[in-house]
C-alpha cells in the first residue's frame, strides 16, 4: 500500500514510522521542512516539504498512486479540504482526517468525509482503518441523515442473504458488485466471498 500522510506531528510521524516498518510505501508531507528531523534515521519513506493544498506537492508525494491519505495537520479546515481533494480530485480509495474541534463536524458530514475526533485518533485506530477497508460514506443525502456506504463482505458472511442485513428505517442493502458486475439484490440473493455491497444507512445507525 502507498500511503500519503499530510501533517508530521506526533501522530503523523508515529503512523508513518509504523506503516514503513510494515513494508508499506509512505510519503509524509509537512509544511515545515524541519519536520523531516522527527522521522528516524532508518525511515524508508519519502518526505515532501510543502503545503498539502498544492497540487505539485501532493503529486510529488505520489498521491496519484496512493491507496490511502491521512490528513493530520493542526487545522481542521486544512484537514477537510485536503481530504476532499484526495477523494474528489485524485480518487484515493481510503481517506481519513482528524478534527480537533466540533465546529467542522457539520461540513465534514455534508461532504461525506471520514473524519475522526482527535481523542479517538490514535495510530492504532488509523492503522486499522487503512487496512481494514472502513465503511466510507460514498454519498450523503439531505443534511447527512442518510448515507450510502460500500463495504466488502468478509468470508464468514458468505452464504447469508443480502436481505438479512435490512433493518427497517436503519439499513438497506441496495446493490452488490460481484466480479466487476453490479446487481440489485432480491429477497433470495445470497452473498458470495469477494462481494462488495452498497448499503443505504441512517447516520444514527452507524
Amino acid at each position: 500500500m502507498h500511503a500519503v500522510i499530510v501533517g508530521c506531528g506526533r501522530t503523523g510521524t508515529a503512523l508513518a514510522v509504523r506503516l514503513d516498518a510494515e513494508g508499506d510505501s509512505v510519503s509524509a508531507i509537512d509544511i515545515d521542512s524541519r519536520a523531516r528531523e522527527q522521522l528516524p534515521g532508518g525511515f524508508g519513506g519519502e518526505f515532501v516539504a510543502g503545503s498539502g493544498l498544492r497540487r505539485p506537492v501532493l503529486e510529488a508525494a505520489g498521491i496519484e498512486r496512493a491507496d490511502a491519505l491521512v490528513a493530520l495537520t493542526s487545522s481542521d479546515s486544512l484537514n477537510i479540504v485536503i481530504a476532499r481533494i484526495a477523494r474528489q480530485v485524485f480518487r484515493v480509495p481510503a481517506v481519513v482526517g482528524r478534527l480537533t474541534g466540533v465546529e467542522h463536524t457539520a461540513v465534514a458530514t455534508e461532504l461525506g468525509l471520514d473524519m475522526v475526533a482527535s481523542v479517538a485518533m490514535t495510530v492504532d485506530r488509523v492503522h486499522r482503518m487503512l487496512h481494514h477497508s472502513p465503511l466510507e460514506p460514498e454519498y450523503t443525502f439531505g443534511n447527512g441523515e442518510t448515507l450510502l456506504v460500500r463495504a466488502p463482505i468478509p468470508d464468514y458472511l458468505a452464504g447469508r442473504l443480502a436481505a438479512e442485513f435490512n433493518v427497517e428505517g436503519e439499513i438497506t442493502a441496495v446493490e452488490i458488485t460481484r466480479g466487476g458486475h453490479s446487481m440489485i439484490p432480491g429477497p433470495g440473493t445470497a452473498l458470495r466471498p469477494g462481494d462488495r455491497v452498497s448499503f443505504v444507512v441512517a447516520s444514527t445507525a452507524l
Binding site: R54, S75, S77, V81, Q88, E103, H104, A106, V107, N143
Partner: protein, 225 residues
Amino acid sequence: MHIIVAGVGTVGQRVAQAVHAAGNTVAIVEEDPARAAVLTARGLQVVTGTACAPGRLEAAGALRADVLVACTGRDEDNLIISVLARRRFEVPRIVATVRDDANRWLFDASWGVDTAISAASALVTLIEEATGSAQTVRLADLAGSGLALVETNITTASAARGKTVADLNLPPGDTVATVVRRGRTVRADPSLRFRTGDRVLVLTSPDGERRVHDAFYHGAAGESR
C-alpha cells in the same frame, strides 16, 4: 439584497461598508471577538464565531442571503465557507478571495465558488494597467456572465494600427466594447480605424486574453509588423 461577509480583515470591512452604503443589508461573521465588538459598536450586524459552522451562517441569515463573500485570511476556510453556503444554504452567488495564488486551482464550482478573487493578482493587474507595461491586460472577470474584460493598447508595433475594427475579423465571442482615445471614449463602429495610443476594451471569454492580444498585436495570420 442581503449579503453575508465572512471574515472581516481589511478587505472584508471595506466590502461590508461598501455593500451597506449601496443600500443592502449586511451581516458579518467574524471569529475574533475583539474585531467583532468593534464592528458591532459601529452598528453593523455581527455574528461572532467561525463561519465554517453552519449555525453561524444561519444566524447571519444565510437562508435568505443573495450573496456571500468569503474573505477570511485563510484559503481553506474560504473554501469550507463557500461549500457550506452552496450546499446547505443554496446562496445564489458566492464570491471568495484567494490569499495564496498557488491555491487558486481549488476555487471552483466543486467548492461552491462562483467568483474567485486573488488579492495579489488583482493588484498586479491594476498596476500593469496603470503603468502601461503590458500591451494586453485582463482587467476583470464579469461574474455571472462568463465574460472577461480585456484592455489592449495600440502601439507602433501593433498589427491592428491603421486597421478598422471590421478588418480585424474577430471571432464572434470577442467584441470591441469601446475605444478610449486621448481620454475620451469613441464608439467601436466596424469602420473605426485604430491609432497609436488607443486603449481598446474588449469583451471576451475568460481564457481569451491571449487570443485578443494576438489579434491586435500580431494580426490574424500571427505575424507582427
